[in-house]
Each structure stands twice: as C-alpha cells, then as structure tokens.
C-alpha cells in the first residue's frame, strides 16, 4: 500500500503571548490517502483552521507547532524555507474562504496563476505560463478563459473568484489540497457547483483533500472520512457513514441534531418541531480544565460521573459499519444511548 499523502502525528499547536503559552491544538493524529477527502468539522475555537495552516506551515506569529506532519514524504515541521517554498503549491496547496482577500487586487487573474507556475518551474516562459493559466481557467469552468485571464479579481463574482483560486491552487497538481471553508461565502446553488468541481478535479488528479467546514451539509456531500474537533482535540474520527449513522461521541451526535434539515417534519403532534440545541457555547482548549472539554455541555456526563471532569478521554476504537475503516471517539462512554434516550 502506498504511503498516505498526509500524515499528522501528535500535533500540538500553541500560542505564546505575554510570556504565557497556551495550546490550541493538542495530540492530533490523522492520516489521509490520495484520492480521498477528509472533512475536518468544528466550531469556533476547535482548531480546525489552525490545523490546516500548521500543515502548510502558515501559522500566525507567536504560534508554534510540535509533533510530526508529513506531506507527500516531506517533513513539514523541520523543513527550511527553501523546502517549504518547494512544498507549498507543489505538494500542498490551499483554497481559502474569502477569495477577495486571498487574491491580489493589483494583479489580473492570469498573473496569479502564471506566477504559481513559474515559481515552481522557472524554466517555463512567461508566455507559456500565461497559456497554462488560460487552460486552467477553462478547466475550472470559467467561460471565455482567454478573455477572463486579463480580468482583475474585483471584476469576478464570488463563485468565479473561487474558481480562479482553485485554478491557482491546482495548476501544479499538488498531492494535497487544503480547502478552508471554500463555499461558506457563496450562495447555495454556487456552493453546489464549486463542490462538484472540487470532486471532479480530485478524481482527475487523484489528489487528497482536506476539507475544513462547520457545515454537516457540505461534509455529507463531499467527504469520505470525517474528523470532528472540539476545543483543539479530536472528538471523533470515522468514515462518513459511521459518523452519520453511528456517532460515538455526544458532541458529534449533538451537532447533527442541532443542524436543521430540509426534509424535517414541520409539526409533530401539533407542536412545531424543535432542534435539539447543545446548551452553552463552544470553548477553546485554553478554557478547558483537566477533564473532557465538552463535559460542561454534555447531557451524558452525569452517566459517567466525575471521570469526565478529571480525566480527558483518549480516542479509542469504536465499532464500524460494513466496509468502514477506522472509527475513533474520545469519550468515556463506551456506547451512546439511542437518540430518544438522550431526552433532556
């Protein structure tokens, strides 16, 4: 079996400010094969964006990462600037949520893509790089690419800018694409188009994709495997099927129950259907005590007792459905009760 494209082992990311160091991501381990999509799901403070940036070594000032990150055989955390330049855009590329701030307002769209080409292949002529940009714009579904290549980011709609950013990220055929909330700023119809495009290009290029999202809808339509983060720690990992059909962490189950669905019945027995909300607000690792960070919001913590408060649960193996791969959950409960038993 080939090595995974992405391997993360015991990743910890910490911020230092005013002499105080605090972890924002702790003990994260995950691996991802070529051609597969791993969705990283979480809320504010979960560490999902920081994890994506750690893989690119694009951490903000004051942040440092420990552990091990291997992308396409390259050790990212020990790489020097030269190696990083080689890796970024070539082994691993990134697509951001806000295309307006990710693209330079002074450069036309073609220049963005041509620059990415020439950065990694200095022998390519300007003209050839420009031609490659047109090709790439065509590939991501931008109409009249020969004309569009001369346009500036502000002349594009949000969906078109997102396509241009995808063209720029994929022009060197990276082994891994990190997409951080790539469709969050878009209308639903455009979102569906962009997700379909990403899937198609992924199949064509055989690349691995790390899809960072807060939206279970997007995850359900794009992911093979799902990693659920809560307060900087791994809450649950598993195949999409296992995460949706037999979640083993109360937070995963809670998030799903709190997500409104189009096919939901409006009324049940005269009462309007309500979402099952998770009480409280998401926390970050900094505010968490020694126990499980989710415990204060967890409706099942009293079934376990004090252990939830004093001891952070480690990910342990959970049952999988047929053909399912690894399924891990970090919870002291061996098994979640059926949804109707979780009544509050």
């Amino acid at each position: 079996m080939p090595d995974p494209v992405l391997q993360v082992e015991d990743l910890c990311v910490s911020f230092t400010s005013g002499g105080v160091t605090a972890d924002v991501v702790r003990d994260l381990s995950v691996s991802l094969d070529g051609g597969r999509t791993l969705a990283v799901v979480g809320e504010s403070g979960s560490g999902k964006t920081i994890t994506g940036r750690a893989i690119m070594r694009l951490l903000p000032r004051g942040a440092s990462a420990r552990g091990r990150i291997v992308v396409a055989g390259r050790e990212m955390l020990s790489a020097d600037e030269r190696e990083l330049r080689r890796a970024r855009g070539f082994d691993v590329a990134m697509v951001f949520q806000d295309s307006m701030s990710a693209l330079s307002p002074y450069l036309d769209v073609g220049a963005h893509i041509a620059q990415a080409v020439r950065l990694h292949n200095p022998s390519v002529t300007r003209r050839a790089a420009r031609a490659r940009a047109v090709e790439m714009l065509d590939r991501v579904g931008i109409p009249e690419p020969a004309d569009a290549v001369r346009r500036f980011p502000h002349e594009f709609s949000g969906g078109m800018r997102q396509r241009a950013m995808i063209a720029m990220a994929l022009v060197n055929r990276p082994a891994l694409l990190i997409a951080d909330e790539p469709t969050t700023a878009l209308d639903v119809t455009v979102q569906a188009q962009i997700l379909a495009l990403l899937r198609e290009l992924q199949r064509e290029y055989g690349m691995a994709m790390l899809l960072i999202s807060h939206d279970f809808g997007v995850v359900g339509s794009a992911a093979d495997d799902v990693l659920v983060l809560y307060a900087g720690r791994q809450a649950e990992y598993g195949s999409l099927r296992d995460i949706f059909d037999q979640p083993a962490h109360p937070y995963t189950a809670g998030l799903r129950a709190a997500t409104p669905r189009l096919d939901a019945r409006l009324h049940t027995g005269g009462e309007r259907t309500r979402l099952r909300a998770i009480p409280g607000a998401p926390t970050s690792l900094r505010d968490a005590g020694p126990g499980c960070a989710f415990a204060p919001r967890c409706g099942l913590a009293d079934q376990v007792g004090e252990r939830c408060v004093v001891e952070a649960p480690l990910p342990t193996v959970r049952p999988t459905s047929e053909g399912g791969g690894l399924h891990l959950a970090a919870c002291h409960l061996d098994r979640l009760p059926a949804p109707q038993e979780v009544a509050r």
């Binding site: 279970f216 099927r241 189009l262 309500r274 909300a277 998401p282």
Partner: protein, 262 residues
C-alpha cells in the same frame, strides 16, 4: 379576520448608482413591485440568494429603507406618511435583529446601557428588575447587565440583541439572518428562542435567511425572492415538498443535506 401586522403593496426600491461621464444614471432596482403580508402571530420566511433584495425588502418594513414606490402598512398604518415621531412609534412595534450581534451592539456600552437606551429613546424609564426579567426571557442571567459586548460569546450577544428587540413588547420582529454568524450548536438555541417567542408571546416574525433548512423549520409561510421579485409563496410544508418555480427548485436541490447520499 384581523388586519395583517405587515402589509406591503406593490413596493419597489431603486438604489442610485454612480453614473460615469456620458453615462446615464440608471439606478439599480433592488425590489421590483413586491406585495407581501405577515399575519398576526405568523412567522413568514423570506429566502433568496444574495442580491435578490430580501434584506432591502425587510428593511422597508420598519422604515429603515424608504421605498421608491408602493405602500407599506404596519399595524394598519401607512409608513410613508409618518413623521419622525411617528416612525419612532412604529419602531416600538416593529423591532429588528441583525446578523452580526457584535456589529449591531455598541462596543462601548454595557448590556445595561444598551437596554436602558431603548427605553430612554422612547421616553420611558425602567428598573433593574425589569431589565433582569428581560434578560431572563432570553435565557441570560442578571450578571450580563454589567458586561460589554466583547465579554460575551456570539450566541450570548445575539440573545442580548433579541432582548433589545423585545424591550418594548413589539408585535413584529424582523430578523435578518439572525443565526448566520453563529456556531451550529448555538444557532439551534437562538432559533428555538425565536420560535418560543412566537408561540408564547404571539409575536409575528419576518425571518430573512439564505438557509432553506432554517426557514423550513421556523416559518409558517415562505416567500422566495429572485432578482427583486417574489417568485413563489406558500405554506412552508408545501413549498419545500413541491417547489413550483425553477428558482425555488434550484435552491432546494442545491441545499446540501446532512444525510448520506442515497
């Protein structure tokens, strides 16, 4: 049957756009001849893509945006003919909750000041007990009175924004994407809170959202907007079970479900 709380008839809004040398100013027609009403006690959901005119339409309901043509009646009263004082009275009755609570609350005022100002603006005084009761009605404790916006989370702030909207006991609340900036687990809390207010206090809602699943669950009736017009309207259950207009159908089909593909 009593009069609708909100009735808009053939309402249009044209925004002026910058004209260039030798170019005629055409303006941008954000809302184009829309008629819509909200019954008392009803929650009407307004959906559409960005730029479809839903926020402009919602803002015309309480006079924040003045229509270019058409009439808006709230509580039977024509909004267009209102004086400043009349508008002020109108806004006691029609409150608003915005998308981003951090942007819609004054960062230099405590929650107490924010709430007190609502009463003061309408020439009323209030007691601490009243403010505490107000906060409790949105699920916040009395300790929030002394807090500044940066000392609370997004969900808590949106509760404060709802409390501010509730302060003068309005008949209609216009909620423009009230949960779009919130975390998934918190979004459900706020949606349930709004639904409770509708059920327990009989408050009517005009709920603007781009999220069909949210509208589906929390609206009695739905109006779908596209390019400044309402293209389809009907009971929530029907609209989503059998969308008729191509625009509605496209929206329903494009909405990703948190479900396994069949």
């Amino acid at each position: 049957m009593s009069e609708p709380i909100l009735e808009m008839t053939d309402v249009s809004k044209r925004y002026r756009t910058a004209g260039g040398f030798g170019r005629r100013r055409k303006g941008f027609l954000a809302v184009d001849g829309v008629s819509l009403h909200v019954e008392r006690g009803e929650a009407l959901g307004l959906v559409g893509e960005s730029g479809s005119g839903k926020s402009t339409l919602a803002r015309m309901a309480n006079g924040l945006v003045v229509p270019t043509s058409g009439t808006v009646r709230t509580d039977g009263q024509d909004v267009a003919g209102l004086s400043r004082r009349g508008l002020r009275r109108l806004r006691r009755n029609v409150a608003m909750v915005f998308q981003d609570p951090l942007a819609s609350l004054n960062p230099r005022q405590t929650v107490r000041q924010t709430l007190e100002n609502v009463f003061r603006a309408h020439g009323e005084t209030t007691s601490t007990a009243e403010l505490v009761a107000l906060l409790e009605s949105v699920g916040l404790g009395a300790d929030y009175l002394g807090r500044y916006p940066h000392e609370a989370s997004g969900g808590q702030l949106q509760r404060v924004a709802v409390a501010r909207a509730l302060a003068l006991k309005p008949d209609l609340i216009i909620a423009d994407e009230p949960t779009s900036a919130l975390d998934v687990s918190v979004r459900a809390q706020i949606l349930n809170l709004l639904a409770d207010l509708q059920r327990d206090q009989g408050i009517s809602f005009l709920h603007v959202s781009h999220d069909l699943a949210v509208i589906r669950l929390y609206s009695d009736r739905v109006a779908v907007m596209q390019r400044g017009r309402i293209v389809e309207t009907g009971p929530s259950d029907e609209i989503f079970r059998s969308p008729q207009h191509p625009c509605t159908r496209a929206l329903v089909e494009a909405t990703p479900e948190a479900e396994l593909p069949a």
